[in-house]
Symmetry: C2
Subunit: 409 residues, 2 copies
């Protein structure tokens, strides 16, 4: 440490989550505690804020605003999906140097960690003293080197709650509308879809079937699965990852190859859920419905996991402590301790090892049939949603003796 | 009163809501208070439970179960969409008489009130002493003779919360994905879609545009509206009723007449939101997204309106008090008192006047342009969601002075 104040910059990148602003506030709160850190700048719209030199002074934000941000969805600094080119990195360094920025915090997923890593490499090559720390964020839960990702627990709580209510609705509708599909976010990783299993209190509860991209799905098997549960319960609720693939590994829906076009003559982007809904409706001859909660999954701040909210805040704080400790080129990780209680410590992992990896559901979390999850997955995800979902009431339905002849209707 | 115990039956009909079980519990709790009432039977799956003589004894349910039902979505007795035929009414009366049922409570929308009214008429014609009371329920808020319908306030709170979070997500994404549409339930009535306006704290907040079935929409005007807001804010969020119609009164989407077929060769049922998403994406040349919260809107018990939850319970209790008072052929109504405070009394309206009416958004609740709502609508719906949505944090974003030349990128 030189005694000289070193400025910091923080940005948010990729898709927002319901708790990503907690990480931003964590960075700001912790940075304000350290005399070594001078100004705390925010980049507007992620790395584009650096490229455009669109920086804001976060030290001047009120404590009230920062407190409210902890329950505000979306990325407060704005976000971006932008592939940084090799030519951009010189520009990034130029802007950082012009503002005496020597701490670089980037909140995002694996693309963002790749950007952060490359910023680090260039700074080192140019001899510029820059400490780069990544802060993990993604509802997809697909980052390597960390037990889980801030943002996932809240999205998991939301989708489990959503499919539970919607599934019970289908249970009540019965023969009027017995098949319900719900499309859950996740193009390659099925972590979020798998978490819908938390909706069940008893094994027969919805969702009865869960399909994730890690397993290729046979359309015949899919229809048989639905037919089985429909026959057994009179209804069936199905969780489907948006990125579901068939047995050949091609996306379902797009893989249908029917040459359908939309009103503008462009190929229809029928998703997996629309395709499967049509398939099962046709095969069983019953009414089907689907929900697509879409962006609610990453923005429903009204129902977050308190555990996730707190961890999102703490990874932000840990990132600042890491630079104070002299670290660079690392991402903060969550390290789950062994034992019956859920305890998580903060760790660090090399950015390079996160940048080029995608952590998918391991086989032991998926059942053999490829239409559900295992107890091990439930044990993994249950603590992340911050406590069990509240129990639902179930009528005992004591039957009254019949007195008249059966209805011929 | 004869001193003789008269049995009661209660059923749930039509689409469930997040609070419909409160009305069931309200009926049971109140009925248990009155010695005049003997057994309280539940019909399984609405009127089909009477036709099939599938009755359950609700007096034998535990107080704990009834308490939990107040926070359980779906219709606990099961529900049905079944058009009762003239021949069925004799059967209904036969089953009611076989169980000495002289109080008939039916929780549902206007189809259900029609059924209840016809049961009343037949009983009177046959000289059977039956008291029939309807209990209002619908998220569509389209029942006549009542200020509003239990179920609507919770659905309104949910959709306002949903589009607010998803809309702020779009705000943060900006140019990466600037147009978001959300499909809100409502085939003929736009009450629920209109309630998304509660998501705004300031006039520029999402949703910037709101379209309801009561107004025919010109596709040209729609695109112009979106273009205006996209130009002004860099993004635009749009609430669209599922039953949106064009200027000729035909459903948008189905009205497109492109002859598209699905994978099975059947005509595509592209909804309004899918059609409009394609239209606006094509016209503006930007990425678009849509959410379809679907059945979450009527089942998300994790976020109900406390006002709505309580009113749903009270209309159930009021129905029982009505039969004790000797009433029949009536539906319980909510009567809003004039004055600055929100105060609601219970009233009664003739079933016949509810059965054949549909209460749509009046013109004074819609703006002249046909793309938004008025302050009068906000004043109407605000109290129903049980208090304002929590404020969100907004960074002041104090700009930092630029030191380097503009980025050519």
């Amino acid at each position: 440490m030189t005694g000289r104040k070193r400025n910091a910059v923080v940005g948010q990148s990729g898709g927002p989550t319901a708790v990503i602003n907690n990480s931003l506030v964590g960075v700001i709160h912790e940075a304000l505690q350290h005399d070594e850190i001078g100004r705390i700048y925010g980049m507007l719209r992620g790395i584009k804020g650096v490229l455009n030199e669109d920086l804001v002074d976060l030290c001047r934000e009120s404590p009230e605003t920062l407190g409210m941000l902890r329950d505000t969805p979306s990325s407060a600094l704005g976000t971006v999906r932008y592939k940084v080119t090799d030519a951009d990195y010189d520009r990034i360094l130029e802007v950082l140097m012009a503002h005496d920025i020597e701490h670089f915090f980037y909140i995002g997923g694996n693309d963002s960690m790749d950007t952060a890593h490359k910023v680090h490499l260039l700074a080192r090559q140019k001899g510029y003293e820059l400490q780069v720390i990544g802060v993990p964020k993604t509802i997809d839960n697909d980052l390597a080197m960390t037990d889980h990702c801030p943002g996932y627990g809240s999205a998991a709580r939301f989708v489990a709650t959503a499919i539970r209510g919607s599934g019970w609705d289908t249970m009540a509708m019965g023969e009027s509308s017995p098949i319900k599909l719900m499309e859950i976010m996740g193009r390659n990783a099925g972590w979020l879809t798998a978490a819908t299993a938390l909706a069940r209190e008893i094994p027969e509860d919805p969702p009865q079937l869960i399909y994730v991209p890690e397993r290729g799905v046979s359309l015949e098997k899919f229809v048989d699965d639905v037919r089985y549960w429909y026959g057994r319960l009179g209804y069936c609720v199905i969780a489907v990852s948006e990125g579901l693939r068939n047995e050949q590994g091609r996306p379902i829906g797009e893989a249908s190859g029917t040459g359908e076009v939309d009103a503008f003559g462009h190929p229809r982007k029928a998703g997996a859920v629309e395709f499967l809904e049509g398939l099962v409706g046709e095969s069983l001859g019953v009414k089907t419905r689907h929900d697509k909660p879409g962006y609610l999954q990453r923005s429903f701040t009204a129902l977050v996991s308190p555990v996730d909210r707190e961890e999102a805040y703490e990874v932000g704080r840990a990132a600042v402590r890491a630079v104070i400790a002299g670290e660079t080129d690392k991402m903060v990780t969550l390290v789950r301790q062994a034992g019956p209680e859920y305890v998580v410590d903060m760790g660090l992992a090399p950015l390079a090892e996160v940048a080029n990896a995608e952590h998918l559901l391991p086989p032991e979390y998926l059942n053999e049939e490829g239409n559900g999850v295992t107890e091990a997955l439930l044990d993994y995800v249950r603590p992340l949603i911050g406590g069990p979902l509240p129990p639902y009431g179930r009528l005992a339905k004591h039957a009254v003796e019949k007195h008249v002849r059966p209805w011929p209707g």
